[in-house]
């Protein structure tokens, strides 16, 4: 009985920690497939969190999710204007957007809620209990009695796979990431495609930030993105730029983090930092091609036209 309790606790924590990573990483997958690596994702997450919190306070949790997604898109727009529009270095631009966003959201939060802070108590998005599925023992309550952002992830992973690999638009988007010159010659708008892909990435990262506030924690604090945007970029690598793989990788990262909390709470005398390091080691292994051939989009992080 106690073991089932520990296991259920682990599953609940793992799912909770995986979903924000999955949201951000699925968006980043599309962006990277188009050849743009957006390190500014972290900035979109924190803007999404602040936008979500403020819109949530003003107009309720669902409006908060929308507000967060819009705020995340706005941060990605800033990144896209420079990195895609002006062909600035993507890594440096993304870093600038992230650092700037962390500082700027802090300034906005402090000017709105006071410098020394208060614990906002946000109304959270209610769970949608799916009939039948939520009755499944063990997994049902963990996966199918949750906020709608969970279902967005479940539906989006296969949908994005279908979009990327089974539609003309998906082919066009991938060709922009693999061979932008050829795509351009074929009449595909490279800049426009990349820009839209970046904006989608920002939208999803903003949703991830709003999820942190309005689903996961019910509060906002400065820096609460806590590197999740960066981790999402690693998740995309481990998921090998393939949406279902990215979802699996996000679950793996979430599980590794959950495992250390559950182990520590169980007073297990294990070196928990090892479990935290494991996903990153596997990401490196994935990059090195240990799990079969895995190749990043050919023009990832490269400007166009060169």
């Amino acid at each position: 009985m106690a073991d089932v309790g520990v296991f259920a606790s682990f599953l609940a924590a793992a799912a909770g920690l995986a979903i924000p990573l999955a949201l951000a990483a699925l968006g980043e997958t599309v962006s990277e497939r188009a050849g743009v690596i957006n390190i500014g994702l972290e900035g979109s997450v924190i803007w999404g969190a602040l936008g979500g919190a403020m819109a949530g306070l003003a107009a309720g949790p669902y409006a908060g999710l929308a507000g967060g997604a819009i705020a995340g898109t706005a941060a990605a727009l800033l990144f896209g204007l420079f990195a895609v529009g002006l062909n600035t270095n993507q890594i440096i631009t993304g870093t600038a957007v992230t650092i700037g966003s962390l500082g700027f959201t802090g300034a906005v939060f402090q000017s709105r809620f006071g410098a020394t802070g208060l614990a906002l108590e946000l109304k959270t998005v209610p769970s949608w209990k799916l009939p039948l599925l939520s009755e499944v023992p063990l997994l049902g309550p963990v996966l199918f009695d949750r906020a709608p952002t969970f279902y967005v992830v479940y539906l989006l992973a296969p949908a994005l796979w279908w979009f990327l690999f089974r539609t003309r638009w998906g082919l066009a988007l991938r060709s922009v990431g693999e061979a932008p010159d050829a795509a351009h010659a074929a009449g595909i708008g490279v800049i426009r495609t990349r820009m839209l892909a970046v904006l989608f990435g920002g939208f999803m990262a903003g949703l991830a930030g709003a999820h942190l506030c309005l689903v996961h924690t019910g509060t906002f604090s400065e820096n609460m993105s806590a590197g999740k945007g960066f981790i999402a970029v690693a998740v995309v690598v481990l998921g090998r730029w393939n949406p279902p793989g990215v979802l699996a990788a996000a679950c793996f990262f979430g599980a590794a983090e959950a495992l250390q909390y559950v182990l520590q709470a169980a007073n297990a005398d294990l070196p928990y930092p090892l479990f935290l390091a494991l996903p990153y080691v596997l990401s490196l292994a994935a990059l090195a091609g240990w799990f079969g051939r895995s190749r990043a989009p050919a023009t990832l992080a490269l400007p166009w036209p060169r």
Binding site: S9, G103, F104, G117, G218, T219, N223, M224, E257, Y261
Partner: protein
């Protein structure tokens, strides 16, 4: 009041200015405002504060920021604050403040020790204060908060409040001052309920609200019904986890740490282990101006600057007999009759030999 908010705005404007100039350069320089440079020969001293996290945490960093504000308001000195995230930024910020003529620079946390030590060697005319610092020098002053003494009392209260006999502690980074408060908290729990189980989790982050909430939830699902934290902004996640556990299981309480957090989540926080950081910062600044700030000033229960503050709104949660024992323990700790277990991170042999250890400030 107006001057306070102006300073607050100045700090924010600094951050915004940083943002606009961010592209590559790190955000150095004590102030975005060129005209703000203190006159080294001028009469008004300048004091700076570095925090490694946002001051909007309603806790550890907020207390330091209030202390800085108090120095500015009541002494009329020039003040400046910077949030620094990485050890490289620690060094850069110390140096840029010292270069700009700031005479007193606070690094608010154990993590500033190494950078402060390097800056102190390089700038003998400036004084560097490290909250919970571990080593001293002529112009390097560790400020020791005996928060363990208040954490012990909070632990006694937690032991009395818990019916499950399981109490949890959620920490950020596993540094000696944080481990010390947990050691004492656990001892306080055991003093009231020797059978109790005490869970301890470190998330590795002071600010990650989601991580702290998951860590707290994992402890609550393990049967804990009382939690304390030693994190910064992430404490909101701990309080939120307690609120949710209460909805699901009916009974859960939390304790605050570092600052009086009874009002942060008034319906779940039974009491807080508090350091009066603003008063201690002000005392340190005055002592520095008089030339008497040296050694390693320590503040504990005896000085009143550290205490366990119950939440008046939840006064009936702690059983009366436990309350009486807490009052007795408070007297015993203050008089020295009861020694609270602590982790001794201060390296006493680095204290300047010529200067005797200061009595606790009053």
């Amino acid at each position: 009041m107006i001057s306070g908010s102006t300073k607050q705005w100045r700090a924010q404007r600094h951050r915004i200015a940083c943002w606009t100039a961010t592209a590559v350069a790190a955000c150095g320089g004590p102030s975005a405002d060129g005209s703000d440079n203190p006159d080294p020969a001028g009469s008004s001293p300048s004091v700076a504060l570095l925090t490694s996290g946002p001051v909007s945490d309603a806790g550890w960093h907020a207390g330091a920021y209030e202390g800085l504000q108090r120095i500015g308001d009541s002494l009329g000195w020039r003040i400046s604050h910077q949030q620094t995230r990485t050890p490289a930024e620690f060094d850069e910020a110390f140096i840029s403040y010292a270069e700009a003529g700031y005479g007193l620079v606070f690094g608010h946390g154990f993590e500033y020790q190494d950078a402060a030590e390097r800056a102190a060697a390089q700038y003998p005319d400036a004084t560097f204060v490290v909250s919970s610092g571990s080593r001293a020098a002529a112009n390097l002053v560790p400020l020791i908060f005996r928060l363990e003494e208040a954490a012990y009392l909070a632990g006694m209260a937690a032991g009395g409040v818990s019916r499950a006999g399981v109490v949890g502690m959620v920490g950020g980074v596993e540094i000696p001052p944080a481990k010390g408060t947990f050691l004492a908290f656990g001892a306080g729990v055991a003093a009231v309920n020797p059978e109790a189980t005490v869970l301890e989790t470190f998330t590795g982050s002071w600010d990650d609200v989601a991580a702290a909430k998951e860590a707290a939830s994992a402890q609550l699902r393990r049967g804990a019904d009382v939690l304390i934290h030693n994190v910064d902004a992430a404490s909101f996640g701990v309080f939120q986890a307690v609120r949710e556990a209460r909805e699901q299981r009916g009974r859960a309480w939390a304790f605050g740490m570092n600052r009086d957090q009874n009002a942060v989540a008034p319906e779940v926080v039974v009491g807080s282990a508090v350091i009066d950081i603003p008063a201690l910062f002000l005392q340190a600044a005055v002592a520095w101006h008089e030339g008497s700030l040296r050694g390693a000033p320590r503040a504990g229960l005896a000085s009143g600057a550290v205490d366990f503050v119950p939440n008046p709104a939840l006064a009936d949660v702690v059983p009366a007999d436990v309350e009486a024992r807490i009052a007795q323990a408070r007297r015993d700790i203050a008089s020295g009759a009861l020694e609270v277990p602590r982790i001794r991170y201060l390296e006493e042999d680095t204290l300047p030999a010529a200067s005797p250890v200061q009595p606790p400030p009053n």
